[in-house]
Amino acid sequence: MNNFKSAIRTCIIFLIVLTILSAAIMSAFFIGENYYYQDSRERAELSGTLDFFVCGASHAMRGFRPDILDQELGVNSYNLSCSRQTMQGRYELLNLELNRNPAKTVVLELSYDSMTRNRDEEGPEGDIYMLGKLGGFMPRIKYFFSAIRPKEYGRMYYNYIDNGVNCIKKIIHGTWTNKNTKLEKGYAAYKRDDDELNQDLKKIYHTRSFEETVYEPNVEYLNKIIALCKEKNVQLILVTTPLSKVTVCRYDNLDTFKEWYENVANENGLQYYDFNLIRDKEEKLPDSSAFSDKFHLGNKGAGTFTKMFTDVLNKEAAGEDTSALFYGSYSELESHMTLDK
Amino acid sequence: MEELLEILNDINPDVDYSKEKNLIDGKVYDSFSIITLVSNISEEFDIEIGPEYLVPENFNSAEAMWKMIQKIQEDED
């Protein structure tokens, strides 16, 4: 018995020491430059004053500029998006923010992978960021146990240790700050780093398809978001952000996703806009200057796009028919598109 | 017994075979010496030392080897 007790005692002491050491290493990350923890603190400070939210994954994080939203729409907006955001993540954030802010409008970004994003293939990336964005200890613990699977615990532990070590390296080099200057009310600009935007459009035309198998949990959470907004009396607008011309040409099934979201919008009496189909997209958002890579807008493009978006909203509010501003489908778009650069 | 000691001294004369009890376990004889030893013993005593006899207990001392030789000679009867 003594042997067994000693063994248990050693295990417990070891785990305690390990926890303390790990926490020490990770602490630099939690209190430091990490985007998402900063973001959480910023939102906590603004809580009670925000009335307009954008919620989505990286397309929205790079695409919607809150400063332009504020200016053009006269609101106090925040961009809740983050990379690899899951539908569950979107729901949880909206739930948090709608309960502590006088929200009037929510823009939900939905694109080709929002419904098909599959946990088994994608891993816990988006949820790692979510853990940062949520506020408070208990919500994080709750989210951790609801979203993260046991087989991912090792990966999560590694992720936090890695981030912690990186921060410690920065501290040693004197480049550590605890103020992240990249985020502006949730929006993060993307530097142009992908010159795969120079493609022969004729060669790549309709050569690939996006995955179409829907992952059921995503649908569940989408419905939860719709129900939540209804309950809070919040106007929900569904939006697909613009993709580069290279992407629109290459993938042949973007109409599938557009139709899905149109159905959702029709069934729930919501507005849906697919900004790939806005008539002046090619003119205003050319690949060469508006996009940072095949799927994300760059800083300049985000500015232009946000203005285009607010123009549509303002026209809608003024009673104009905005559907004339858009093509009806991708087939229609392509019939008006040239494949010469 | 004398023929056995002759064979042993031929392979490794530096050992006191009346006292040494750890020829194999103590690595005094390496695998090559063992093979030479076994082939010389089988030639000298006209016996076949099967692999089942190749255990350290039978070769750790001159005494043990002599006992083994006698047993094989008996068994072949």
Binding site: T10, L18, L21, S22, P150, Y158, V165 | S39
Partner: protein, 530 residues
Amino acid sequence: MDLLTLGFLLFCIVLVIVYYLVPKAMQWWILLAASLYFYAMSGIKNMIYVLITALSTYAATRMIQSLTDRQKEWIKANKKTTSKEERAAYKAHIQAKRRAILVAALLLNFGILCTFKYLHFLIAQVNTVISSFGASPINDTLKLIIPLGISFYTFQTMGYLVDVYWNKYPAEKNFGRVLLFVSFFPQMTQGPISNYKDLTTELFKEHTFTYHHFSWGAQRMFWGFFKKMVVANVLSAYVQDVFANYASYSGITTLIGAFMYSVQIYADFSGYMDMMCGFCEVLDIRLTENFERPYFSKSIAEYWRRWHSSLGAWFKTYIYYPMAMVKWNQKLGRWAKQKLGKTFGQTVPASVALVVVWLTTGLWHGASWAYIAWGGVNGIFIIVSLWMETVYASWKQKLGINEASWGWRAFQTIRTFILVTFIKVLPEVGTLSDGFGLWKQIFTNHTIPRSFHALLPFVDKKMPLLAVMIGTILIFVTSLIQRRQPIRQWLEDHTNYAVRVLIFAVLFIVIVYFGYPASGNGGGFMYEQF
């Protein structure tokens, strides 16, 4: 089942708890259940081969044993009433039966092993011959997935079969025990290859939980994880790069790559051994050691007594000695003594046996000419040093070399390490000509790299390299300490409990930090393919 997962960790914890809770007589049943479960998780279809081996060995050993017993009784009963010739004839008759059963069981089990390992290789060789006659080659479309650990458990089990044939001990009557001996999971993937007596003594004794075994076992497992996940996995990426691109790297870079390979494979294989032996220590089971500071060896022969020593022991017992003592070899030896003089002549049976041992060792490691050549090269070194022993002794005397001096021993160790590295790397680059190409690059390319990147072009980030260097130094230092006492004993003598807990907590974090990303390309274990 992938060893480096939460699932396996859970499996181990549950096993340890249940194992110590059940009555001591039932402990081995738990081990058997765990082993079968482990193997089933790795591919239930392949369990059939384990079962075939266990069943055929059980049947063969029991039949051989009953023949042996029958012979003893008959001789005892009829000693007075029969002549010597009659008894000899009876013995020969029984012996023929025993041998037939042995041969059948060996053919079956080695046949299965060889089919899985060597079929593709054989077909390729046959095709080379066929196409040189202008005929069309055999179509080799059969995709054989080698059952986990087949080389290890087949050898281990066949050793038991041969031991029973040699009357070393009686056959086991309990099939469950035989099955556990065949399938004991810590040894499944990469050995060690134990002999029946040693392993079963450990498996079937009564096991008591002691804090000492738990603590030492856990420490050893940590150390093994560190070697494998930090040192071996990180080096694996570098080494793969050198093997693929040596033609465009300088000789020095390629040489560094070769030395890294030596460190990598030691860390990988001995790390796995530490993990498994450590885990077994927690279970109060002692496994045979496979490594004894092999790179401190002073000769190639010694190296092979210290590297993968359980395989060497198996080959010594079941191939080397039998081959050396077989009649025709002994006759050859006597002829050689007459014709070529005593000193050289008496090395002949051993040399013949060594050739067989080394070619089969090479073949065991891989089904390719490169591995056979590798085995042959090792064999040549050992045989030549056997022949030259007396010559070397007289040279050393003439040159006044003091064999016990520190300088001479250091020279021998370094020389052996360099030789071993070159030999080891030969079959690993790709084909045999790739291996020679790598050697050539080391010797003929004299470019001096002028920058860090030119010296080590495969290093992307500096921190993993630093970790590997520190890890290698740690391994070296602990090896030095281990010459006198186990490193865990040293820790107990020189540090206190708090420091030890801290060391292992830090080690854990280091393992996760460096090991997790590297495990993408280091994946499973290198010897797992055997």
